[in-house]
Amino acid sequence: MTSLQVESPGVNYAELHCLTNFSFLRAASHPHELLQRACELGYTALALTDECSVAGVVRAYQYKKEHGLKIQLIIGSEFSLQPHQPEAHERLIVLAKNRQGYAQLCRLISLARSRCEKGKYQVNSHDFDDLSECILIWNPHPNSPDELGSLLSAKYKKNLWVGCHRRLSALDQRQHAHCQAIADRYDLPLVALGQVIMHCPTRQMLHDTLTAIRIGMPVHACGYALQANREHSLRTLDKIAKLYPAQWLQASVTIANQCHFCLSQLSYEYPSELVPNGYDANSYLHHLVEQGKGIRFPAGVPHDIALIIDKELKLIASEGYAHFFLTVYDLVQFAKRQQILYQGRGSSANSIVCYCLEITAVDPRQIQVLFERFISKERSEPPDIDVDFEHQRREEIIQYIYQKYGRHRAALAATVITYRFKSAVREVGKALGISLPQLELFIKNVDRKDHHNTWHEQLKNLGLDSQSHVGQCFLELVESLQGFPRHLSQHVGGFIISAGPLSELVPIENASMAQRTVIQWDKDDLASLALLKVDVLALGMLSAIRRALNMVQHHHGRKLSLADITRMDDDSNVYEMLQQGDSVGVFQVESRAQMSMLPRLQPACFYDLVIQIAIVRPGPIQGDMVHPFLRRRAGKERVEYPSKEVQAVLERTLGVPIFQEQVIKLAMVAANFSGGEADRLRRAMASWKRHGELEQFHHKLVDGMMSRGYELAFAERLYQQILGFGEYGFPESHSASFAVLTYASAWLKYHYTAVFYCAILNSQPMGFYSASQLVQDARRHGVEVLPVCINKSEWDHRLETTPNLELALRLGLRQVKGVNKENIQSLLEQRPKQGFTDLLQVQALPYTKGMLECLASANALNCFSGHRYQARWQLLDNHQDLPLLREVREAHPETLQGPNNLETLREDYASLRLSLEQHPIALLRNAGLLKGCLATSQLADKAHQSLVTVAGLVTGRQRPGTASGVTFITLEDETGNTNLVVWQGTARAQKKAYLNAQILKVKGILERDPESNVIHVIAGKLIDCSHLLEQLKVTSRDFH
């Protein structure tokens, strides 16, 4: 938006009643749009007064700060005594005069919100008792009773005003007379209000649409619920001066002058109970670090490390962050006591102090984390530590926080859920009266990853008449609704903990989950205000590793911790395994893209893993950083640095920027960004999808770098990478924390293979692979896998010692579809030591028939019934429900034919999601239905560029956003997985087979990377062979 100078000299006005789109579906402009516009119009001040909320103010505050807007921002909120009828009732506007008034306002909002379910509130007139440091503006409605007047005027003589709006409605005169009468009756001053709900008149269309969404009717049927005109926008001062008496305008400025509160006055006070008597926070932290040194460095702290520890502690003390570290320390200590596995990450988590405090297991000797970046002094930004916990046990940590600090002092941050493309299409479409199937078609068929066709064009292709009036409105409205907040949801794990009542810092409201409360600010808002939060996150891999470590102890008698594994020297065997791309189940490097990169990158040490994790990301890929790195690593390209500064930043990654920190640092040293600008760049990167804010940095970055002698191509590449980071930026410190888990899981996979698979299977669902794929991979690694059995399986998968003293994996009953844990466990408790001997014995137990049928289907009753059909047949018999008849067996029980191979497979997949029998592709191959097709294992012998035919089950279709137009299909056969590359043209021309096939036969060209030996098949002809299974059914039946 260009800055428009439309000020009117001589007129001063402060808008004291203005809603943002955080008053969901009531207002049609973003906070920053309102502030920007009010500033352009020359308003003295703008009060953001969302309905019982301050959720939008941080955004406006941030915008004002960044753009240096010269307008006063007042924080307030609007309340209505009957909030469920948004029209036709009176409103009370409460503005914070100072920090205390702000606390009073937050308390009031929290109170009103606490009475209702999520998204609603309720205020009583008595709630306004304690607002001594606030301005109250009463906007009465002509029809309302005036008992509020006597109540308020008795209490707030000086701080109470009657606010009157003028919006060119037929009711203006009545409203005016009413306000005047009330002002006279209670001897109150009058002030002008704008009742603003949009920043400029052209938003009327969007506002009407929001109204339609709110009341759930198409716009044309909304009638008088819509605004009659556009006067609810920010109007020019000229016009304001014509509409209101001068003294009312003067009154608005008078009020604004009394409001001194600014969000910068909020400062965070740490909980104090963490420091024992006799210590202060710093000395206690010192003490704990000393203790930790003994645990982490039993052989003594190396000198250089000791120096860094001192440096870190000094920085922590000077910035006053000791409490924060103590808070996190307290959490992880609790986790440790409860034997919950955890791992810290975030910019501060990989400091040596954190290593000593056992917040992280990253051994500082193994990485070269930039310590100066540990806490950025110049940015005065709070340290960032996220802690991942075992996903199934994170709730224990959350409950610990609530119990330790109390619900009035601890709450989750909110996540502002916004309208995305799909929701915008659906809601706007309904509001415009477009039919639902049509909208579903739009939603399901628009490909947001298609960079060649905008969604506008795609909708046109789907039959939207863009020339029609409705079509044009639709496109425009969908565009502007996107990014609008819809509601507040709870953040996944961002906790804010305070010393005093939290509700004096920020309002708290109920979340949709019972017993959860969230604050009204998004996680990002907290960061902009420099408020501290602790992220308590859940990670499935930690659960898996915990299980594996327990099993290692149980079966191998070796007690290990995460830190024990990282403390051992890098194990070359483990790296060799990874170099082969053998990484199914290994944390962070098991995706297909990672897997094909492993043989090229050949990681050989811990830091290589840190790079490996960060490099296979949209950022580096989009910025074309991967190939230069590979070439340089292979020694094929010289590593040169354009300057010394750049060398300092990029040396450890061979001159290629891979981590987010490097990009930021480069912007500073190479393009001369100031600390503040770099900070804005970092935040824009995190949110560019939403606001498109990155574009403004483009010129600055490129020009800055060119003027300092860098090549244009280098600068553009860097910008491209910044764009990529926007979506999935990866900082080095996160990567390092993840690498610990990558190494630990790979280590377990190599050394304790059976244990590893068992643990991963017990932690499902997680990761990229299904239980079926994991079991196949386990078997390929020589692990014997045993079927489920009512007499041998437990609930979990477990390891069993075979007669020849190997550890075999016995599938657990958890794998059986349709059974629940409690019932199975109680069944297992009643299992005789020698096992059940007869089906009747099981039937006699008080379990539902359904559960037993599921067990029968899974062939878990195989031990007494011969085959599953027979077991089911036997179980189904109603007569056995009668106790007298239980012993009476049918004279000639029918014998059902047992399942053939294919039926067995089908039953296995239906009831267990996996099969230990022959692979379906093997069945087809044996039946001679796949003549000419190579098995995956045979591809290894084929030459580069040879023509091959393969067939397999389609187990994955992936369309990464980075690889434009390419789909990766994974074909599974009895010998492994083949990676198929399908170009867009190929897919389009053979859509039917491409989209529908479950079993796919492909003729294509084999491609082999000469260095890594990674094999792909570039698909040519696609043939849907799904029907072959049907054919198999017919032919196999003929054998009987």
Partner: protein, 468 residues
């Protein structure tokens, strides 16, 4: 007995496309799933049961229409009406099936082939996709038709053989039951039939046993066979030619008396009558007369007709007249507020009918409100309804007389005018592209008229109504 089942697998879609000659992929969708697809869509790999998202991936330009079971039922009834000409006894099996009893028809058409020939005509004519099968029992015919058998089977032996080969999934069993059977390894109907019914019943419940019995049960369904709707329709050839409309009174009265005789015992009324006038050497004419709340008495209808006939000039001598009805309804009196009879003379409905007969339908109207800020759209005049919708009026003061077209003022209101209130700005209506932007004022002109004026953004002044 012999039964024939017709299954119209894409009845609604076929009817839709037949009317519009559409030759691109088109599907009917119910709960985001394709339920009917045309040949073009099938060609693209779209099947019934395909999710909408997947269908859209297969064919981006697909036309999507919502499935409507009610509509399909109506189509089925229409089809039945048409088949009634060739078949005497048949049953509707909504939403997509017809069950015909063929035994009686065979004699008439000399064998099933001849009958089938006749039967197919209207189906082909309407562009319908259908599957059929004949069998000795209704259920067997239905099951085989759904399986796409498309054969006229004469011997139960053939039927049995086909049934026993039929996959359980296609046997029209409850999907849960079918799955249960499959999971016992019973993949065909024959395999299930081979087991003792008692053993099956003990394990899988009565439904299955009943089903197996019904496959053999040759008797007719326990519901009434199809009956065409009863409507009065009569034609009267005149014994002599009529040259003046007034002379129509007597033959007309005869028809109306017959009508009364038809309606009265059925306890019916009709809302409208259509009188067909057949002329000698001139195209026939139709004359409609309506009575909103229904009437059956000849006398009442006659008086309405006479009012209309007064104005009629005959282009040629009349040789025949015919009478058809529309809007048949039961006798029970309506409880409509507007149509309550008062003072025992005429009901409101009768008054309206009488006025409309003379003045034309559109001369008699009621005023209805609509929620819209735009003044000319905030109410409308329409035909009187027996149930007046209850609506709230706006609270903004509005003039009682409003001009259909605002009248431009030649001069701006000057000092001789007195502005009473305003401006009230109305700027609304983007959604139907009739966006207005006006500042309304209430003003008194020098003659003492209280006017509703507005000014447009281009400063033009208009008079829009009077506060009479």
């Amino acid at each position: 007995m012999q039964w024939l089942y017709l299954h119209f697998s894409s009845l609604q879609l076929d009817s839709l496309l037949y009317q519009q000659a559409y030759h691109q992929a088109c599907v009917l969708v119910d709960k985001n799933q394709v339920v009917q697809a045309n040949a073009e869509a099938l060609q693209m790999g779209i099947k019934t049961g395909t999710g909408l998202a997947h269908a859209a991936l297969l064919c981006a330009q697909i036309k999507v229409v919502a499935y409507d079971a009610k509509k399909e039922h109506r189509l089925l009834s229409q089809l039945a009406q048409c088949l009634y000409q060739t078949s005497a006894t048949f049953y509707l099996d909504p939403p997509q099936g017809l069950l015909l009893q063929t035994s009686d028809m065979l004699r008439l058409y000399e064998g099933i082939e001849g009958y089938w020939q006749q039967l197919q005509h209207p189906l082909i004519e309407r562009g319908l996709n259908y599957h059929y099968a004949s069998a000795h029992s209704p259920l067997a015919a239905k099951v085989l038709a759904y399986a796409g058998n498309d054969r006229l089977l004469k011997h139960p032996r053939q039927v049995h053989r086909l049934l026993s080969q039929l996959s359980i999934q296609h046997a029209l069993l409850d999907p849960k039951l079918a799955l249960q059977l499959e999971r016992l390894g019973l993949n065909t109907l024959g395999q299930a039939q081979a087991l003792p019914k008692s053993a099956l019943g003990q394990r899988l419940g009565k439904t299955l046993v009943t089903y197996l019995h019904q496959l053999e049960d040759t008797s007719a369904p326990a519901k009434p066979a199809y009956q065409p709707p009863e409507r009065f329709r009569q034609r009267l050839e005149l014994l002599y030619e009529i040259e003046h409309s007034s002379a129509l009174r007597f033959p007309l009265k005869r028809l109306l008396t017959d009508l009364e005789a038809f309606l009265a015992p059925r306890q019916l009324r009709v809302a409208g009558l259509s009188l067909g006038l057949n002329y000698r050497e001139h195209e026939a004419q139709k004359m409609h007369v309506g009575c909103n709340d229904g009437e059956y008495r000849a006398e009442a209808w006659l008086s309405l007709f006479l009012l209309k006939l007064e104005q009629l000039r005959l282009p040629a001598p009349i040789i025949a007249i015919s009478l058809t009805t529309k809007g048949q309804m039961p006798w029970a009196p309506l409880s409509a507020q507007l149509f309550e009879p008062t003072q025992g003379k005429l009901t409101t409905g009768q008054l309206i009918s009488r006025l409309q007969s003379k003045l034309g339908d559109h001369a008699v109207q009621q005023v209805y409100l609509r929620d819209d800020h735009r003044p000319e759209r905030s109410f409308y005049q329409g035909m009187p309804q027996s149930h007046y919708p209850s609506q709230q009026a706006t609270t903004f003061l509005r003039p009682s007389l409003l001009f259909t077209l605002p009248q431009a003022l030649h001069h701006k209101p000057d000092q001789h005018w007195c502005m009473l209130s305003g401006p009230e700005r109305i700027q609304s209506g983007w959604w139907d592209n009739v966006n207005i932007c006006r500042d309304y004022f209430i003003a008194r002109n020098p003659y003492g008229q209280v006017c509703w004026l507005f000014r447009t953004p281009t400063q033009g002044w208009f008079l829009h109504g009077y506060f009479s």
